[in-house]
């Protein structure tokens, strides 16, 4: 389990390769990367991500532990940036390794679904004429019901 919360950019290709190389016995590796998208209309100048130092690391570790308890994983990586980013920049990535592709896929989707709505990050979009906090989406909260054993 490798959790990193950092302001600096990360090298997605190098991280993906290093993660894959470290997965002894795995037959399947899944990665997810989130990029800063440009906005329709007025171009996005900066995407700024605020977080809650201390809680962020704990929340991500908890999510990764839950994934490892639920699926048989050879490993699990989360990197999430904070601070200022520009369109096209990589915001975050997760990677999962497992014997089987279904487990690797499901665990990566689980990590993403919880990370979206349970890790203390907040995005703010800055354009030439406006600054606004990104609103959370009901569909992101709804996505969690998929993982609820009582559903």
């Amino acid at each position: 389990m490798d959790i990193r919360v950092q302001e600096a950019p990360f090298d997605f290709g190098a991280e993906a390769q290093a993660f894959s190389d470290a997965q002894a016995g795995a037959g399947a590796i899944v990665t997810f990367t989130g990029l800063v998208r440009d906005l329709p209309g007025t171009p996005l100048e900066v995407m700024e991500i605020e977080h809650y130092p201390g809680m962020t690391e704990k929340a991500l570790a908890k999510i990764a532990e839950d994934a490892q308890a639920r699926w048989e994983l050879s490993g699990c990586l989360i990197i999430h940036r904070y601070g200022k980013m520009r369109p096209g920049d990589q915001i975050m990535m997760v990677a999962t390794g497992s014997k089987h592709r279904k487990d690797a896929f499901e665990a990566a989707e689980f990590l993403m679904d919880y990370l979206k709505s349970r890790a203390p990050f907040w995005k703010r979009e800055v354009t030439s004429d406006n600054t606004s906090w990104v609103a959370s989406k009901a569909e992101d909260e709804d996505a969690l019901t998929r993982w609820d054993p009582n559903q």
């Binding site: 809680m55 929340a59 990050f121 906090w133």
Partner: protein
């Protein structure tokens, strides 16, 4: 008891400070909000709609009826938008 109270994102902007030391006898996070409302207009705007807010006690997400006993740090913030 004395607590560190933290605010994030637009909540922080309305309140005007990222954190403050608060002396309180509130039993729950929700009771603490009621006390904070008395501190001024910024707080009223910030806490106008609790259903659109989240709270963490000692860096763990909880409900607004969670007890504050023994807590060192309480944080209020909007729903998260990571990923």
């Amino acid at each position: 008891m004395a607590l560190d109270v933290l605010y994030f994102a637009w909540l922080r902007e309305h309140v005007g400070v990222p954190r403050e030391r608060v002396e309180t006898d509130a039993a729950t996070a929700g009771d603490l909000v009621k006390e904070l409302l008395a501190k001024g207009e910024g707080y009223e705007t910030a806490f106008a709609d609790l259903t659109s807010l989240r709270v963490a006690i000692d860096q763990e997400l909880v409900e607004f009826d969670a007890p504050l006993a023994g807590a060192r740090e309480v944080a209020f913030f909007p729903p998260m938008t990571g990923g």
